[in-house]
């Protein structure tokens, strides 16, 4: 699709806003609808749009394989690590109330952190699956 001028220009204009919207959904998920799952998918769709318009190889330069693969594991580690941190702070596993002196603030921080973990994993997995599909050549 590299020769479609309109598509390229519009995509270039849209991608930052898609990413911004993903971040909004990510960090505003506790006030409005949204959260890690949705944000991760939206963030990945920005990459997919980029890959569709500018080619998969260009997109791979923006998000190299090692970044995507690290992200897949990192999100899960953040989520699980939050639980371990609350264990070290004399709470139950994934009990966010002990993360701070004020239980409500602790809950808030815990929810934000694990949603971030969910978002990173979902975004990386979606991008990785798309790259895996699109990077494969059809057998000639």
């Amino acid at each position: 699709m590299t020769h479609h001028l309109v598509v390229r220009v519009i995509a270039k204009m849209l991608i930052p806003f898609i990413m911004l919207f993903a971040l909004y959904v990510q960090f505003h998920g506790d006030f409005g609808p949204g959260g890690g799952f949705q944000a991760g998918v939206i963030f990945a769709s920005a990459f997919i749009l980029y890959a569709l318009v500018f080619g998969v190889e260009t997109a791979r330069e923006v998000a190299p394989d090692w970044v995507v693969r690290t992200g897949i594991a990192l999100g899960g580690l953040i989520y699980g690590g939050t639980g371990v941190v609350s264990l070290f702070k004399d709470g139950n596993y994934l009990d966010y109330s002990v993360l701070k002196a004020d239980p409500v603030a602790g809950q808030h921080i815990g929810i934000l952190v694990i949603e971030l973990g969910v978002g990173i994993t979902v975004a990386s997995v979606m991008t990785a699956i798309f790259f895996a599909f699109a990077g494969r050549q059809r057998r000639g």
Binding site: F31, P33, F37, Y79, Q107, G110, I111, I114, V118, V125
Partner: protein, 180 residues
Amino acid sequence: MAVTVFMVVRLHNLFAVVMLGGIYSLLAAALLVVLDAVDVAFTEAAVGAGISTVLALGALSLTTSQEKEPSRRPFYTFVVLFVVAITGAALIFGSLDMPVIGDPTAPIHGHVADVYLSEGPVATGVPNVVTAVLASYRGFDTLGETMVVFTAGIGVLLTFASVQAGRKREDEAGEEEGEE
């Protein structure tokens, strides 16, 4: 929605089927908004109408966009019809006992829902009850879901990696033969 499903069954052009699948997801998202389930509608629109359509198109570009002729053996047709009829009858039988949508005395509203609604925002400081339940009360479930996504990603990567490694080996073997 019923029209889209009917079209999906009737059409043999898989490209059109994928597009109709996206339309179906979008309609489902609209239905969920009507039911006040904005979070779920959001997910349905993003995942169902967005990502899975793109992935299905990617799969189509690797394979073919025309459906194969199904086998017309009468025995299979009978077995499939039997299984579908039994499953459908069981589902309809199960739905007979369901309370009316929005019934406040439904069993689901009797246990923890009230507690979540009244105490959730206070105890977690998060106004969106869905997020509070998802991330805090049901933190283990969400951890499990994240791990499911993680496992799915690893699985796809491994499948494609092994396919590519096998092809590379074949190519190298072919080149060596060519050199000889």
